[in-house]
């Protein structure tokens, strides 16, 4: 039983490794500058010169997809990172302390789940977060971090990431809380308590590490979800700014050309599919492995 599961999960892992390599080595792999506009070359079908053809402004699709790998992976992983950190903290507190704190936190989670996130998105756009974030660069310590981050990432991407992360931490919180509720009653915890361990030590040293398994599974699946969400946001025009190439925005740009430039629609969608599938298979493999323990 374990052998085949590992094979699928292994396939997923291999694909993801390949994607990570592509993302890191993008400047060396991509045949063209993804932002190079060349109107005479607009909408060329796949050929030797352009393996995946060109878009309406003559930009090479393959190069844009390669650079898009960076954006998608970064958004996926970092947004889930935010969700996991925030969610674990809240869930741990709720699950460990129980009682009124649990009630309060879970009601807070319920409230957030009911609020229309689209409005939050619109409000965020209006406050011009990219500008605000760039102003942070002047702050002494934080500024250095910000500068480094923004050298690598467009502030708009940071905004999109944060939004997706803040939209999804609630599920992690629930999960962690449930795990803690179960784990709390297990023998090793009672033993640790008897030995006089403090609450903080209990949470961080004993409980959370054991709760890692389902969180890890959820995180792996969550990355796939985040990538899909980014594509939906771009489809609705609320994602990254032009001319940044994210898979979702390439898909969106290709919408008007469905009849004649199928490569503009097919390739970014296929990339999203393969990547999310790989994450899901990996996640399932992890789940199987942890379940057996």
């Amino acid at each position: 039983m374990s052998l085949f599961k590992n094979r699928l999960a292994a396939a997923g892992a291999v694909v993801l490794l390949l994607l990570a390599v592509v993302a890191v080595c993008a400047p060396w792999i991509a045949p063209y500058d993804p932002l190079r506009v060349s109107l005479p070359d607009a909408l060329l079908s796949p050929s030797g010169a352009h393996w995946l053809g060109t878009d309406q402004l003559g930009r090479d699709v393959l190069s844009r997809l390669i650079y898009g790998t960076r954006i998608s992976l970064v958004i996926g992983i970092l947004s889930v990172g935010i969700a996991v950190i925030v969610g674990s903290l809240v869930g741990a507190l709720a699950g460990f302390y129980g009682g009124w704190l649990d009630g309060l936190l879970m009601r807070f989670v319920d409230t957030l789940l009911s609020i229309p996130t689209i409005f939050l998105l619109l409000a965020m756009i209006a406050m011009d977060p990219a500008e605000r974030l760039q102003q942070l660069e002047t702050v002494p310590l934080l500024g250095g971090v910000c500068r480094a981050v923004f050298a690598a990432l467009d502030p708009q991407i940071v905004v999109v990431m944060s939004v997706i992360g803040l939209m999804s931490w609630m599920g992690v919180a629930r999960l962690v809380r449930a795990e803690l509720l179960t784990l709390k009653e297990r023998e090793f915890v009672l033993a640790a308590r008897v030995l006089g361990a403090s609450s903080r030590r209990l949470i961080f040293a004993h409980l959370l590490p054991n709760a890692v398994a389902p969180v890890l599974v959820s995180a792996t699946l969550g990355v796939g979800g985040a990538i899909l969400t980014e594509s939906v946001l771009s489809f609705l025009g609320l994602g990254v700014q032009p001319p940044t190439p994210s898979w979702g925005s390439i898909l969106n740009e290709g919408r008007g050309t469905l009849g004649i430039a199928w490569w503009l629609t097919l390739s970014p969608g296929a990339c999203i599919l393969v990547t999310v599938l790989a994450f899901n298979l990996l996640g399932e493999g992890l789940r199987e492995r942890f379940a057996r323990r």
Binding site: F4, L8, G98, D110, T111, P116, F119, L258, E284
Partner: protein
Amino acid sequence: MTAYLVRRLLALIPVLFWITVISFGVIKLAPGKPTDAAMAFNPKVSLEARQRMEQLYGLDQPVAMQYAKWLGRVVRLDFGRSFLDDRPVGRKIVERLPVTLTINLCSLLLVLFIAVPLGVRAAVRPGGAFDRWTTVFVFTGYATPSFWLALLCLAFFGVQLRWLPISGLHALDYESFPLIRQWLDTAWHLILPVTIAAFGGLAGVSRYMRSSMTEVLTQDYIRTARAKGLPERRVLFHHGLRNALLPIITILGLSLPDLIGGSVIAETIFSIPGMGRLFYEAVMARDYPVVMALVTVGAVLTMLGNLLADVAYAFADPRIRVGGQS
């Protein structure tokens, strides 16, 4: 348990109140006014006319006052009138609800019809070729961006093959059809939206079915049944499946609030007037009455769903003492 339930239900009311307050605040936070569509950037409309229009809609009053007015109406179950077309919000929701419910129910049935047998079969011989292929299949369904798939299917089945209609719910001369033909026509129009919605939902149910079934099959009573010499089919279905279905039913219960939610992208692409588009268009047009009504209804359903989940969880694992400290 009963006391706990009652306590939880009563606790819902202040939470609902806070949800509506925060939602209203968030909505007002987002820039833009419902009068924008008609009046912003229309040189024939003067600034004074715009301001007057805002007054007529009560938008110049302080936010707290606007909220208080809304609350006052809502407790009498009056959700007000939409700013888009001045129609009662309740009627707009009731118009769109049947379509969304139909699509969601049909897609749910389709999912169950496919995912349950898939999960059972995969559980019977875990690790086999069948298990592997179904895993890839259902996860592909989950991983596919639905709007991408929708456009590709439309281009292929609708344009290339001309087998299916491109958009809409009914043929143009629907009203003149006999009842049977009306049903068939609607079904024909719903094939693609329902199928695409189902494709994405297969993964969840089938994986759950599989793990539930494998767990059940390791139980002692299954081994007993087999030892007694019962035919394999009876073992599987009568003993195994019946018990394995229980958690599935819980899951179904939890997804009740999702039944009224529609996918705005699918509805846009297929031109279906459903709840998803209602919400999205209301948001874009800053149609507060509609948005608040949908948020409130959605919140109530979500909270009831969560309550069900917690109760079910407590039943499942008696070690958890809900609502108390250890």
